[in-house]
Structure formats: C-alpha cells, structure tokens
C-alpha cells in the first residue's frame, strides 16, 4: 500500500490546529491537517464564549500572556482579509465588592505588564452609563478596548480553508489510534485502518492531546476535561448589554459572563465542572441554574425565558498553568500543542506563528510558498445593501432564495458553505458556517431544505445526510 508522506501532520482541526496548518501553508512544506470528526472546529473550538480577550488575565511572562496579546493583534489585523466575523465591542470586568475592586486593579496592572493597550478603570457612573442594565451594586469596571467577540467556528474554518486552498490536505474522520516508525517518519494509523506518515507530528488534539502524546511514549502531561454550560438568548434581547461583561476571575476560570455575540444574540455562561468523560457535552438543570444565577449578579434582568438554545463545551485543561507548546522530550518527531485553554481561541493565530518559529529554530528549513493567498470572501446576504443583493442574485439566482427565515440565509450561501475549502459536510457544519438553523426556530423550517441542499451538493441521497457525521443520521436510510 502506498502511504502518503508529509513533512507535517497536524492532528486536530480546532482553532490551534487550523492556525498551525494556515501558518504552514505559507511554506512549501507538505502538510496535512487530520481531524477525527466529520468537520473542523468540533471540539473546544465550537462551544466556548467566542471572546477575543484583550490579554490582562494571564500571568505576565507566561506563554499564555504573550500569545494572547499577539493573538488579539492578529485577529484585529486579519479578520477583514479572511472574512472572520469579529466585532471589537470591548470588555468590562465589573467589581461588585471591595474585594472585586482590588482584583480589577490587579488585572489592570497585569494588563499593563502584558502590553495590553486601551485599558481603563471606569467609575460606577461611567460603567452604568455605558451599561445601564448592570446591577446597581456595581462599583466600577476594568474596561478593555481591544477585546471583542467573534465567530469561534470561523476562527477555525477560515484558517483551515485558507490552508486547504494553499495546499494543505484536510483529512476528515481520521481518528489516530496507533503509530509506528518508518525511518524518519511516523506512521499514523486511523481507527478504520487508513495510514499516513509524517516527519513531524504536531499534536493539537485538544482534550485528547495526552492520548496522542502517550502513543509516542510521552506521558509528561494529562488533560482534564472541564465542562462549561452556556445558553443563547433570542436576538430580541440583543441590547441587554453592549460589551462583554465579566465578573472577576475565579479559581476555575474567568467566571460567568454575559455578552453580545458577534451575531447580536446574548450569551450567558460558562459554568466550570471537571468531568471524567472527555466527550460528555450534556447540559444539566443544575448547570443552567448556576449559569443564570451567576449571570444575574451582573445583569439582574437576564432571563431563562428568552433562551433559544443551550449547549456545553469541553475546555482542555493541561494542568501546567500555561500552554504546553514545544517538541516532546520523549520523541523528537512529536511537537505538542496542548493545554490550550482560555484564552486559546484568541491565541490561535499567534500559536500558529509560534509553532512555525519553534520548528524553524529546530533546524527545519522553510521555503516560502510563492502562491500563498489568505484572501477569503464570504457572501453574507443579510448584511449586503439592496444593490449588492441584486448584483449577487443576478450573478447566481440561488442568492435570491431565502432558506432560513429566522437568520435570512439564502440557498446560495448554504451551497457556498459546502463547496468552499474545508467546507461543510453535515447539518451542524452548515449551521456553524452560515447560521441556517441557529435562530429562534432552530432549524424547524429550514432543516429539511438544508438536508436537500447538502444531498444535492455532496451528491448523496438525502437519507445519508447527518447532523454531525458518524452515526448522527437525520432519517432512516430507505425512502418510505
């Protein structure tokens, strides 16, 4: 059997893996991006707060601090060119107690040390005038102007797409279960027996990074899964707050936030609960209550009544207090990118840069890919002017057919989300990319139509469409 040989195999197409693949696609090195699921952004990347953090949280001098601040810069610099939904709405860490006031002062100092620009301590009056729905008990807030909200999916889809367009091979449904050695190459074996080989394996397997490392004999870290529950509120409540509203950080994370999402809904969460089963993304009654009780401390009027959906995300906790990024001591063919907990989403683009820098320092000679192009354009029909709408419909009439009425998503956009690089392969993939099914009817109306479009574009029967790959089929196989 012929096994394709790569210079680099990146395991895990989440935000870290996608940005690493993106960065590698700037060079002629032969790279593949391996994902165990049917789509990119299926782990921690798809279910988090989607905040681009300013960088005042991490301890000065850590990799976390450095990559957070750099990541924030890169997101602000790249989001337009790569068409990643991002709004720099700024964040507040609010103080409700004496202790909180000390804490936000500390965060301010930390931020200055980390090189964060645009930090300010606001008085009670300033805080309430900017955010009138905050608790009247608020004493003031740390304001960070460079913070914002993004589409966490697109923070992975966009670099994965650019990487694919620039020569990286995206390999889906490849769950690495074994390795063997073939000279300088490591041969990765998937659960269904497929094999690929690579000179350097970059382990960005999220919460499963310790299992991948263990295959290489590296047991230097252990991943813990920390579950966080969230709820999304209807966009009719979108003006409840205008910035990201944090409470001061607690032991297990940044606490419960209330924020606008990039799409104008409100997000509430997360809780923080260490769990044994790394894939247990269930929501719980207690978790939802904790999230709302916490959120009401900041914004008393936030209400469960406006929830349109709830979900859980798994944060990969490395236990070292910092990102674990570097060549493995156990096997020089392995490069670990693990423990990418918050602010991992923000740090993503900077992680990509940093990984390539470290690999180059180790002696790998990178040659520039002369054709590299990171321009990416996504049509978002809803946001176009009427003239632009007409122009695009004249070009492709499918942009004139609205499929998802809650979010005004057209057939053209859905087809595009399937056909573009690192495109959607299933219902959730379409939903994450274009928001069809993400609104108040949660796919009740557009679901069957999206199934039809997926079937047509992927040239499969409608009955083979899945919600998110694997056994998540939508219907029975046979027609009635």
């Amino acid at each position: 059997m012929n096994i394709t040989q790569f210079d680099f195999a990146v395991i895990g197409a989440g935000v870290s893996g996608s940005w690493i693949a993106y960065e590698l696609s700037k060079y002629t090195a032969k790279t593949c991006l391996i994902e165990k699921e049917n789509d990119v952004a299926m782990g921690a990347t798809k279910a988090n707060s989607a905040i681009i953090h300013a960088g005042y949280d991490p301890v000065p001098g850590t990799l976390m601090a450095k990559l957070n601040v750099r990541g924030n810069e890169l997101v602000r610099a790249l989001h337009k060119k790569m068409d990643i939904p991002f709004r720099q709405i700024g964040s507040f860490v609010i103080a409700l107690t004496d202790e909180d006031e000390i804490k936000i002062r500390e965060l301010y100092e930390r931020g200055l040390k980390n090189g964060v620009e645009g930090l300010r301590i606001l008085t009670k009056e300033e805080t309430l005038s900017l955010e009138p729905n905050l608790s009247p008990e608020v004493r003031g807030a740390l304001f960070a102007e460079t913070a914002g909200v993004c589409s966490s999916f697109e923070m992975s889809c966009a670099p994965a797409e650019v990487a694919e367009n620039n020569g990286v091979e995206l390999i889906r449904n490849f769950s690495v279960t074994g390795i063997s050695r073939d000279g300088e190459y490591s041969v990765l074996v998937s659960s269904d027996g497929r094999k690929i080989s690579a000179r350097t394996v970059i382990n960005a397997a999220g919460v499963h990074a310790d299992e991948i490392a263990a295959l290489f004999g590296d047991t230097s870290f252990k991943m813990t899964a920390r579950r966080g529950e969230y709820s999304i509120l209807d966009n009719s409540c979108g003006n409840l707050v205008h910035h990201v509203i944090f409470q001061p950080p607690v032991k297990y994370g940044k606490g419960i936030l209330v924020s606008q999402t990039v799409d104008g809904n409100i997000i509430v969460g997360p809780t923080a609960e260490n769990i044994d089963d790394k894939e247990d993304k269930a929501t719980t009654t207690e978790g939802q209550k904790t999230a709302f009780d916490g959120a009401r401390r900041s914004v008393p009027s936030v209400s469960e009544r406006d929830v349109i959906t709830s979900f859980s995300g798994i944060r990969p906790i490395g236990g070292k207090g910092d990102f674990i990024i570097g060549f493995s001591d156990a096997d020089k063919n392995l490069f670990n990118v693990a423990g990418i907990e918050s602010p991992g989403l923000t740090a993503g683009p900077a992680i990509g840069e940093y990984v390539v820098e470290k690999i180059a320092e180790n002696g790998f000679v990178f040659n520039k890919n002369p054709d590299f192009d990171n321009t990416r354009k996504v049509i978002r029909f809803k946001d176009l002017s009427d003239d632009d709408k007409n122009a695009i419909i004249a070009e492709n009439p499918l942009y004139g057919r609205v499929i998802c009425r809650c979010e005004t998503v057209t057939e053209g956009e859905i087809a595009d989300s399937i056909n573009r690089g690192a495109g959607a392969r299933d219902m959730d993939g379409v939903k994450r990319r274009v928001r069809a099914g993400m609104g108040r009817c949660q796919g009740g109306f557009c679901g069957p139509k999206v199934m039809e479009i997926l079937a047509r574009e992927l040239k499969i029967p409608m009955s083979e469409v899945t919600k998110f790959g694997g056994c998540s089929r939508m219907t029975e196989k046979e027609e009635i």
């Binding site: 709820s231 999304i232 009719s236 894939e279 993304k281 269930a282 929501t283 719980t284 009654t285 978790g287 939802q288 469960e304 929830v307 349109i308 959906t309 709830s310 979900f311 009427d386 709408k389 007409n390 419909i393 004249a394 009439p397 499918l398 004139g400 057919r401 609205v402 009425r405 809650c406 005004t408 219902m427 108040r440 009817c441 949660q442 796919g443 009740g444 109306f445 679901g447 069957p448 199934m451 039809e452 409608m462 009955s463 899945t466 919600k467 998110f468 694997g470 056994c471 998540s472 089929r473 939508m474 219907t475 029975e476 046979e478 027609e479 009635i480």
Partner: protein, 327 residues
C-alpha cells in the same frame, strides 16, 4: 424593482388565500399574495390527514384538498401571486421588501397589508431539556414535512413529547408507516390536542398517553438513544424517584405553536404578550393603521375552518380600509 398594490398579503396559506379572495370580492383590484414556498397552500400541503373543511365546505377534506379549493378560487380571480419569494422587511408605512431568484429585491408599496405568515413550533431549546444534543430530535411539524413531502422516516422507535395535535397526528402517521411509537408524554394533567385525535391517532393504535409526565433528560451521543421521563407536581416540577428511562431513536416535540411575528415587530406593531400575536381592534386591524393580521400569525387556531372564517373578515376590513383611503 418597485411595485404598487392596493393590498399585499404576506403568506399564501389558508389565511392569506381566504383574505385575498375576500378582498377581491369586495372590489379591491390590485392584490398581491407573497408566498415563500414554491407553491401556495402553506402548511396544509403537508397536513395530508383528513378533518378539514367540515364547517366551511360541509365535507371532510385533507389538508392539500382544502388548500387546493382556495388555490382554485384564487386562480379564477386576477389576484397576482409571487411564490418562492421571501419578505425581508415591512415598514410602518406599509412598504414591503421581498426577494426572489428572478426579480431580486422588490419594494412593494401597499395601501393595506394583510399579515398571514402563520406560526412556528416551540423547540427543544425553548423547553431547555437537559442532556446531550444528538440527531433524531424533531418538532412534530418538521417530522411531518420529512415524512409527507420528502418521504423520509425520521426513525423507527419514536417517543412523542407533548400532546399537541400535530404530535398526535404524527403518532398515527409514523405507526402506519411501520414505526413503533412507544408513548406520548404530556407535562400537563390534560392533553392539548383535540379529543378526536386522541381517539383516532392514539387509542386506535394502542399508543399510551402519559399525563403529568415529561422528559427530564436526553441521552445518546450521536443519534438519540433514549430519554428519561418523570412525573411532575402541580408546579410542573419533576418529582424525584419517578424517573424512568425510555429507549427511542426519535423524539418528536409537539409542545406548542407561536405566531410568527418578526415582520410585525419590525413594523412596530403591538404584540399581545399572551397570544404572542398582534393586538387587534375590530376587523383584525393591528395597532399600525392599514396593517391587518389573520390566521395563526394573529393567534394559534385549532382548526383551519376557523382560520378561514376570521381571515374572510380580515380581508373584508382591509378592502374597506382601501376603499375609504381612495374615496
């Protein structure tokens, strides 16, 4: 592109069709019906079961037949239709922006507007049932579309949550197509569905209806594998110790309908927090002059015959309004 019409009807289901026909009968000449689907008839097209039309036509019809009668009546008039067309916005001065594949964005200036957009189903997200998020969970109406229009079965072993009429109808439909429907769970002490549907959709097929019992957790990672159900107390809170695991590969939700009033809100129309439909004075006129509402967008009806009756009145009022304006 710009259009001027006397009356624009948003939605070509039973409400919109009856209102448009009535407007025409009352002398309005330039009427436009805008429908998002490729055919008129609305949700009736997927309601293939009988039980429609006894009051209006004195005979028992299926949904598609009932719809076809109105489509035929409409086609005998000069009322214009735009199908496969989605309304994007409605302004308080009755300017509609709509879009389709051939005309692009169309601006429609109407002397009067009749809202007839229907309703949507309450979802799992709104119920906030804890647990996993696998495939195989559908609202009853979505399942109805899959089965009756696409010819695809959502699954083989179904549990139905909520005893709304569409859920009951789907219990029978799935059973007839060979699926097992192991039970219907209703959180309230009595069913929200019509008595006749309990008899002919559940009792006829020996499907149990469990009252004061509801789903408290969803299980299954990829495809749904089961739900935990529990009895509830008078405050509808689950009672500890009454939990039971019910295996299923499909969960259908029939837990209520909500008038679809996003466009109405955009036009500044007052919404009744109870019915979730527009507050209407006499003649189905909303709080914005010249904008009328009928059918499930106004309030959720049990019966299409009643939708038709009220929509006729709305059509009459709109015609009156246009006449007074032009006079």
């Amino acid at each position: 592109m710009k259009m001027n019409v006397d009356v624009a009807v948003i939605g070509g289901g039973p409400a919109g069709l009856a209102a448009a026909i009535e407007c025409r009968k009352n002398g309005v000449e330039n009427i436009l019906v805008i429908e998002r689907d490729r055919q008129l008839g609305g949700i009736l097209n997927q309601c293939i079961h009988p039980g429609f039309g006894l009051h209006v036509f004195g005979e028992e019809l299926t949904g598609p037949e009932y719809a076809q009668r109105y489509i035929n009546m409409l086609s005998e008039t000069d009322v214009k239709t735009l199908t496969d067309t989605m309304v994007l916005s409605l302004s308080p001065d009755r300017v509609i922006r709509a879009v389709n594949t051939t005309l692009g964005v169309v601006e429609i200036h109407a002397k009067a507007v009749i809202l007839a957009m229907g309703c949507r189903e309450r979802t799992r997200g709104m119920l906030r049932i804890p647990g996993t998020r696998p495939s195989g969970i559908y609202t009853a109406g979505t399942a109805q579309r899959l089965v009756n229009i696409e010819g695809l079965m959502p699954g083989k072993n179904t549990v139905i949550l909520g005893s709304g009429d569409i859920g009951l109808i789907m219990a029978r439909r799935m059973t007839l197509e060979g699926a097992k429907v192991s039970g219907v769970y209703e959180i309230m002490p009595k069913s929200g569905g019509l008595k006749r549907n309990i008899v002919q959709c559940l009792n006829d097929f020996g499907i149990p209806l469990h009252l004061s019992r509801t789903a408290v957790e969803i299980h299954g990672r990829e495809r749904i594998e089961g739900i935990t159900v529990a009895s509830v107390d008078e405050n509808l809170a689950p009672i500890k110790g009454t939990e039971e695991y019910v295996e299923c590969d499909t969960l259908l939700l029939s837990v209520g309908l909500i008038p679809e009033n996003e466009l109405s809100r955009g036009a500044g129309i007052l919404i009744d927090p109870k019915t979730k439909g527009p507050v209407c004075e006499t003649g189905f006129e909303t709080s914005v002059p010249g904008i009328f509402a009928c059918g499930n967008v106004f309030k959720v009806y049990d019966l299409v015959d009643n939708v038709t009756k009220d929509s006729v009145l709305a059509g009459k009022s709109a015609a009156e309004y246009v006449k007074n304006k032009t006079a």
